[in-house]
Every structure is written in structure tokens, then in C-alpha cells.
């Protein structure tokens, strides 16, 4: 075991982590621990753009953006946070530009903007051009630009370090942050990082679905580490399904494709979105479009021999426009499907995309241990966190915004906290949980294969906790997951070595996925209404009387060591927008 001491430790080097690092490094001695080389983070996969009411191409203002965010989140959004998001969006984009991000430009040389789902002028009148973009590689450019600036600022990275545990210590009856424990992939060594402030920015957890746009490495390690240490998880039942993933593979085709004029069609060639969202049509918000696609498929209007997908039609767009604005996704279609999007429609299906829920935080990024109490020194930002600016459904382009706005905020807040506080003493044997976990995994010699359990988990999640849910499917999911957790106890890990033991880590990651999937299913089962990304066929309407509140899930360990999940609720912060019916 090695012990390191830093003022601020950031877990994760995606957009949120590196945005925080740039601020924190200037103000405190900072280390960034990341399980992937920074530029391998999944922020790089984001395509469409980053919202900000710059009003560079048409009239716009941040209040409209706030409204769209709240409405898009089906009013489960904390409105104070949404206001901050929309207001600080403008500077967030301008900051990135000044750091060198190569945005697409208007003829006047300003940052160009395009339309995106759910972003409207004047509270829903018509689509507005609010998304700042760099072709269909906005996330790539953000990730590269942030990494470049980390190099410039001399940020200290620990690459391929897996954070497996969070250290909290009780001081005067208050739970405070002491540091984190990481496993070094290259050597198998365990490192304890003592820190005054810790920021979790470890990204999403979409890998418990089979068809997903998420990377293999998005396994919710951060959420799970917090969960294991008794911190709550908020709104985990809200998972976004993006309407246009490549059929069967789940690789994302950005909403920007529809922003540029792409159209969804069923097997009769009908532009079916006109029936579901007369005003916004194909650019309605994601939950609406995903449900529409599945409704078409269920009612027999899906395409292909099995009628299990629909088409994204770009053929009416000029090839030059596709080359200039959507070069990457057209290449995906060519590479992975052998389809030429100039002339042929692309088969798509909804794909699991984004976790709206996560570790609850306030607008400074401080992590909450219940509805109101913060854990001193602990912060979270990005997809791992739930501020909550996305509520029940995130608007496209609001996440790249989220990671920049709240990444920056948490970076500043954490460094300032570190400047004014002392180290908390490490608990005795700080590495014990990780040592135990790693030893157990390395020695695992049961009869179960990690692959089989992971596949079974993904199958049950796709079948039972996807776009449409019912009491029955969710119960099925809960019991399937419980059974899988039992099987997980007797897995085997083949690689017994220390160096680059990815076999072992995949087993650990599966454990995280199982925990989080369970939270999702249990939370979803209790939410007997339909809201945003959570659609219950047995409760198809929104129920503001009973469920206008955030779910807070807690891990309880009984006397007998038996684990269970306790659900609690947290009120939604409403400032100026009253819930209305959501129509596009």
C-alpha cells in the first residue's frame, strides 16, 4: 500500500473531471485519478453539441433555455439549478472557445448554432438554434480541449488508477471526507489518496443495458463506491433512451442529424412523428421520440423482416451538408452497417444513453447524505451526479453543458474548501475494504462466469426496465437481479496476476452494475406514474400530487448483514415555472 497526500483529488478525467481539474489545480495541490487515459473518456463520444443561449444566429435568452430544461425534465428539475445551468451556459461555451475549442463558425466568424430536440424559442413556440457545435464531434473537441488545457496547467494525472472506495471518517459526529482508495492497473498495487476534498466525476453507468451508446467502461464505479459507503442515490429510475442508436449495436447517431433535417420513418415511409408531436415533430424531446418509435414497432409498423427498427432518413439532405455537419455518424453507418446515408435510410432503434440520476448534490457540487446535509469535502459533478438539472429527462446538449458548468463549480468549491480545512485523519486500515475486495476477486474460483451474469443482467434490463415498464416487468427485473447477485457470489476470475488484470476489474465492475441496476429497478417500481424517461404502462400519466419529488435510495445493512434498499423522497425545488402538461 502506498499513501499519497493531496489537497484535492478528482476521480475521473472526462469532461467534468478535467473541467474541475483546471480550476482546482490553479487553487490547490490536485491529483486526478482516472481509470482510462483522459482522452479515452466517454465525453469524447458526444456528438451533437452544447446548449447555450448565445443568440449568435437568432433571438434567444437564457430564460427560455431554463424553461426548456425544466419542461424537458418533466418538471422534476430543481429550478434553481436549471437557472444556474442556463445562465452560466453562455460563459461556459465562451470559456471553452477561449481555451481553443474549434467550434463551427457562422459567416461572421461567430460560434455557429443549430437546432436540437426540446430547445425552443419563447416557451415552446418553435425550435431554436441553441446548440453550439463542432461538426458531430463536439464531445471529442471538448475532451481534447480540456485535456490540452490540463497539459497547459500542468495537472497531475494518475492514469489507469481505478478508484474502488471512498474514505469517510466521523469527526465530532459528522461524516467527513478523508480520501479515496485506488487500484493501480499496471501493477495491481493499492494506493490510498488522502485528501481534504474529493470530487467524483466518474461518469455514467449505462453498461447494464445491452443496447447502449455507452462505453464498456461506463460501469458506475463512482455511484457504487458512494453507495457502498452509505450515501444515497437520487432519481436512479430515470434513464434516458436516445431514439437513434444504430440498430442492434446501439452506437449513437446524434440528434443533430434530425437537427439538420433528418426524418424518422416507419416501414410505410411515413413521417410518424407528425402524429406524436405536431409542432416539434422529429425534434420532440427524447423520451417522447423513443416511445413513439417503440409504439410504431409494437403496432407492426417497424422495418426489416422482424419489424424491430425504424429508419432515420437523411437522403433528402445534400451530401455536402452531411459531409460538413455530420461526417462521423455517416461514417459509422458506412463502417458498421455498410449503408450509404446519402442514398439509403439508416436503421435505428432507441439506445440506453444517459443516467439522469446519480449522487445527489447541491448547486455547488457538494454531495448530500440526506435531503439537506452535505458531506464536508465531498463533491460530485457530471453524469455521476444528480444536481438535478435534468429531472426526469435530459435535453440533448444539456449534459456537455452540465459537465462544464458544474465541473467548474465543483472544482472551485472543492479547492476553496481544501484551502480552508485540514486533512481528516485516515481511518485505521484505510485500504481494508479494497484489499478484501481484490483478494476475494483474485481468489474467486466459483462456477459462474462474469460474462454470463453480465449478459443476463443486460437481457433482463433491456426486456424489463427499458422504455416501457410495468409493475410486472419491474418485479421481474428486481427478482432477476437478486438471483444474479446470488450467482455473482460464486464467480470465477481466471487471471490471477497483478499486472493489467482487467479480468479482475471486469468482475468488480459487474458488481457495481448489479448494485446500481437493483437501485434502478427498485426505485422505478415504487414510482407509480409516468414522467420523462420513466414510463409506466400501468400508470401512463404524470402524477404531480404523489410523485412530484425526487427518489432518494439508501443502502441499509441489517443486523444479520442482509442488504436492502430503503426509499425516501426529496421535494423538487420550484422557483417560477408551474408544472404544465408537456406537449411538443
Amino acid at each position: 500500500m502506498q499513501i499519497h497526500k493531496y489537497d484535492t483529488v478528482i476521480v475521473g478525467a472526462g469532461g467534468a473531471g478535467m473541467r474541475a481539474a483546471i480550476e482546482a489545480t490553479k487553487r490547490s495541490r490536485t491529483a486526478v485519478l482516472t481509470k482510462l487515459y483522459p482522452t479515452r473518456s466517454h465525453t469524447g463520444a458526444a456528438q451533437g453539441g452544447m446548449a447555450a443561449a448565445l443568440a449568435n444566429v437568432e433571438e434567444d435568452n437564457w430564460e427560455w433555455h431554463t424553461f426548456d430544461t425544466i419542461k424537458g425534465g418533466d418538471y422534476l428539475v430543481d429550478q434553481d439549478a436549471a437557472e444556474i445551468l442556463a445562465k452560466e451556459a453562455i460563459d461556459a461555451v465562451l470559456d471553452l472557445e477561449k481555451m481553443g475549442l474549434p467550434f463551427n463558425r457562422t459567416p461572421e466568424g461567430r460560434i455557429d448554432q443549430r437546432r436540437f430536440g426540446g430547445h425552443t424559442r419563447n416557451h415552446g413556440e418553435a425550435a431554436v438554434r441553441r446548440s453550439c457545435y463542432a461538426a458531430d464531434r463536439t464531445g471529442h473537441m471538448i475532451l481534447q480541449t480540456l485535456y490540452q488545457n490540463c497539459v497547459k496547467e500542468g495537472v497531475e494525472f494518475f492514469n489507469e488508477f481505478y478508484v474502488l472506495d471512498l474514505l469517510l471518517a466521523e469527526v465530532d459526529g459528522v461524516k467527513r471526507t478523508a480520501g479515496v482508495v485506488a487500484y493501480e492497473l499496471a501493477t495491481g498495487e493499492i494506493h490510498v489518496f488522502q485528501a481534504k476534498a474529493v470530487i467524483f466525476a466518474s461518469g455514467g453507468n449505462g453498461k447494464f443495458y445491452k443496447v447502449t451508446s455507452n462505453a464498456h467502461t461506463l460501469t458506475g464505479d463512482g455511484q457504487a463506491a458512494a453507495w457502498r459507503r452509505g450515501l444515497p442515490l437520487e432519481d436512479m429510475e430515470f434513464f434516458q433512451f436516445h431514439p437513434t442508436g444504430i440498430w442492434r449495436m446501439g452506437i449513437l447517431l446524434t440528434e443533430g442529424a434530425r437537427g439538420e433535417g433528418g426524418i424518422l420513418r416507419n416501414k410505410d415511409g411515413e413521417r410518424f412523428m407528425e402524429r406524436y408531436a405536431p409542432v416539434m415533430k422529429d425534434l420532440a424531446s427524447r423520451d417522447v421520440v423513443s416511445r413513439a418509435i417503440y409504439t410504431e414497432i409494437r403496432e407492426g409498423r417497424g422495418c426489416g423482416p422482424e419489424g424491430d427498427h425504424v429508419y432515420l432518413d437523411l437522403t433528402h439532405l445534400p451530401p455536402e451538408q452531411l459531409d460538413a455537419k455530420l461526417p462521423d455518424i455517416t461514417e459509422f453507418a458506412r463502417t458498421y452497417l455498410g449503408i450509404e446515408p446519402y442514398t439509403d435510410p439508416v436503421p435505428i432503434q432507441p439506445t440506453a444513453h444517459y443516467a439522469m440520476g446519480g449522487i445527489p448534490t447541491n448547486v455547488q457540487g457538494e454531495v448530500l447524505t440526506d435531503n439537506t446535509t452535505v458531506v464536508p469535502g465531498l463533491y460530485a459533478a457530471g453524469e455521476v451526479a444528480c444536481v438535478s438539472v435534468h429531472g426526469a429527462n435530459r435535453l440533448g446538449t444539456n449534459s456537455l453543458l452540465d459537465i462544464n458548468v458544474f465541473g467548474r463549480r465543483s472544482g472551485i468549491a472543492a479547492a476553496e474548501y481544501a484551502a480552508t480545512h485540514d486533512f481528516v485523519e485516515l481511518p485505521e486500515n484505510p485500504d481494508s475494504l479494497v484489499v478484501e475486495l481484490v483478494e476475494r476477486m483474485r481468489d474467486a474460483n466459483g462456477g459462474e462466469r462474469v460474462t454470463d451474469i453480465r449478459k443476463a443482467l443486460q437481457e433482463t434490463m433491456d426486456a424489463n426496465a427499458m422504455v416501457f415498464r410495468t409493475e410486472q416487468t419491474l418485479k421481474q427485473a428486481v427478482s432477476d437481479i437478486a438471483a444474479l447477485k446470488v450467482r455473482y457470489k460464486s464467480i470465477s476470475v481466471q487471471d490471477k496476476g497483478k499486472r493489467y488484470n482487467t479480468d479482475l476489474l471486469e468482475a468488480v465492475e459487474l458488481g457495481n452494475l448489479l448494485d446500481l441496476a437493483e437501485v434502478l429497478a427498485v426505485s422505478a417500481l415504487a414510482r407509480k406514474e409516468s414522467r420523462g424517461g420513466h414510463y409506466r404502462e400501468d400508470y401512463p400519466t404524470r402524477d404531480d400530487v404523489n410523485f412530484m419529488r425526487h427518489t432518494m435510495a439508501y443502502r441499509e445493512v441489517g443486523e444479520d448483514g442482509e442488504e436492502s434498499i430503503r426509499l425516501d423522497y426529496k421535494p423538487v425545488v420550484q422557483t417560477r415555472y408551474q408544472p404544465m402538461e408537456r406537449k411538443y
Binding site: G44, K98, V450
Partner: protein, 258 residues
């Protein structure tokens, strides 16, 4: 060559998505393996399995790891050519495993898979990326400006933006650098990836440190070592015209001098 063979019947779970398995073919992956915890020797191991020809080499590697031999080690993340984790040498050429479909590389014959060249092999397909990133860091890969920040964005015409578009696409996968014959023997060379990333800023109209970057690349291990072998351009999974970018840097150095 010591070659062992591992075989698998295809798993039912994987093709649950497909109807029937008539389309499945038998492929052999011949993987160059090295595990310092076991031996100082490299071994080639053959893995035989049933795959859909439309699947990726990465899928085949996963199948080995998940069903045949959990000790096989490689990096990967996004699985669609965007994160740059899985550059490796497939059938003798650098490619991303997640962007190479089996049907495109003649699956009739054994498909060879080896780590990229010129970097220390740590285990199986995992190489030490540090020297690669060191070269990247050495070229000042960030925007440098002087004077006061404007309140709004810096203006840049669409043409000026287009000037360096090609080199902004780089995902730092190292496929180019590790395909370069100069780099294989002399890892001191900055390598194409670092030059690509310098190019991205040298030709950015907003940047004001082009001169310094050019001076860095004027070094003994800089652009002049490039022998225009085009391996880098052929290898780049993002379709960046790497050699062209290098030539533009060389010419910028010359015109600066004369």
C-alpha cells in the same frame, strides 16, 4: 513459433439477437501473447470461434476474453472508434480493433493480432503509452494567446476554421506513430501524432505560439526525421492526412526561414 489452439462453440447468448446461425463463420484469431508474470517468452496462440462476419475484431477479442481465456489483456472502451484505446496490429497493419470488421480482413485465414510497435509491451496487447503522450505534451498542444481576453468569443472565419479541421480529429490512438518505421527504431522521434497536434495549433488563426512550436519541431528529433513513408496516413483511423500535415509543418518552417 509456438502456437497453441483454443477452440469454442459459439455462445447461444451472443446470437440470440440473430435468427439462425447460417451466417456464422469460423474464424481463427492468432494472438501474440506476452505475460511477464508467466514467462519472458512471447507466444502466439490460436483461438478458433464462430463469428458473424459483420462483427468487429474487438468482438472476437471480447469473445476470447469472456468465454475462452480471461487472461487475454487489451485496452478498449467506446467500441466505435472514438476513444482511441484499441489500436493494435491486425494482419500486419495498425488499426482499431473496434473499427475493423471481420469480413473486411479475409477471415478465411488466421487473423494475426499483435501490439503496436515501438512502445514497450507490458502485457499481451497492452503497451506503455507514456513515451507517446510525452511527445504529445512536448509540442505545446494548447492554444496560446497574448493580450486581453475578449469579452465574447474570438472571431474566426469559416475558412480559417477549415484550415486546421483535419488535424482536430485526432483521438491520440497512436496508430500512426507506432506505424512509423523511423519511430520503431528510434523512439526519440516526436512521431506523427505529436506533429499532427502541433499542426492543429500552428494553423489555428487564433494561436500565437506557432513560432515556438515550429522551433520545437525543428529539433533533431522533429519533422525532418519524417521520410514520407505514409504508413501513418494509411493507419490513421480518423482518416487524417497525416503526412500532408507533416509536410505543411516542414514548409512552414522553411518559409519562416526564407
Amino acid at each position: 513459433m509456438s502456437t497453441t489452439t483454443v477452440e469454442s462453440k459459439h455462445s447461444a447468448a451472443l446470437d440470440a439477437a440473430e435468427t439462425g446461425d447460417a451466417h456464422l463463420i469460423t474464424v481463427t484469431l492468432r494472438v501474440r501473447r506476452f505475460n511477464p508474470e508467466v514467462s519472458d517468452q512471447v507466444v502466439w496462440v490460436d483461438y478458433e470461434m464462430q463469428m458473424d462476419p459483420k462483427e468487429r475484431v474487438l468482438d472476437a477479442l471480447h469473445k476470447i476474453k469472456w468465454e475462452l481465456d480471461g487472461t487475454l489483456t487489451f485496452r478498449r472502451s467506446c467500441a466505435h472508434g472514438i476513444c482511441g484505446s484499441d489500436a493494435m496490429r491486425i494482419n500486419g497493419r495498425n488499426r482499431l480493433a473496434c473499427k475493423t470488421l471481420l469480413k473486411d480482413i479475409n477471415p478465411e485465414k488466421p487473423i494475426t493480432v499483435e501490439p503496436i510497435k515501438g512502445l514497450t509491451v507490458l502485457k499481451d496487447l497492452v503497451v506503455d503509452m507514456e513515451p507517446f503522450f510525452q511527445a504529445f505534451r512536448d509540442v505545446m498542444p494548447f492554444l496560446v494567446t497574448k493580450g486581453n481576453e475578449p469579452t465574447r468569443e474570438r472571431l474566426q472565419s469559416a475558412e480559417d476554421r477549415a484550415r486546421f479541421d483535419d488535424t482536430t480529429k485526432c483521438i491520440l490512438c497512436a496508430a500512426c506513430t507506432s506505424s512509423c518505421p523511423v519511430f520503431w527504431n528510434d523512439g526519440q522521434y516526436f512521431g506523427p501524432a505529436a506533429i499532427v497536434n502541433a499542426h492543429r495549433f500552428i494553423f489555428d488563426s487564433r494561436d500565437e505560439a506557432g513560432e515556438q512550436r515550429l522551433e520545437i519541431l525543428n529539433d533533431r528529433d522533429g519533422v525532418w526525421r519524417c521520410r514520407t513513408t505514409f504508413n501513418c496516413t494509411d493507419a490513421c483511423p480518423r482518416g487524417i492526412e497525416v503526412t500532408k500535415a507533416i509536410q505543411e509543418v516542414k514548409r512552414a518552417l522553411l518559409t519562416r526561414r526564407f
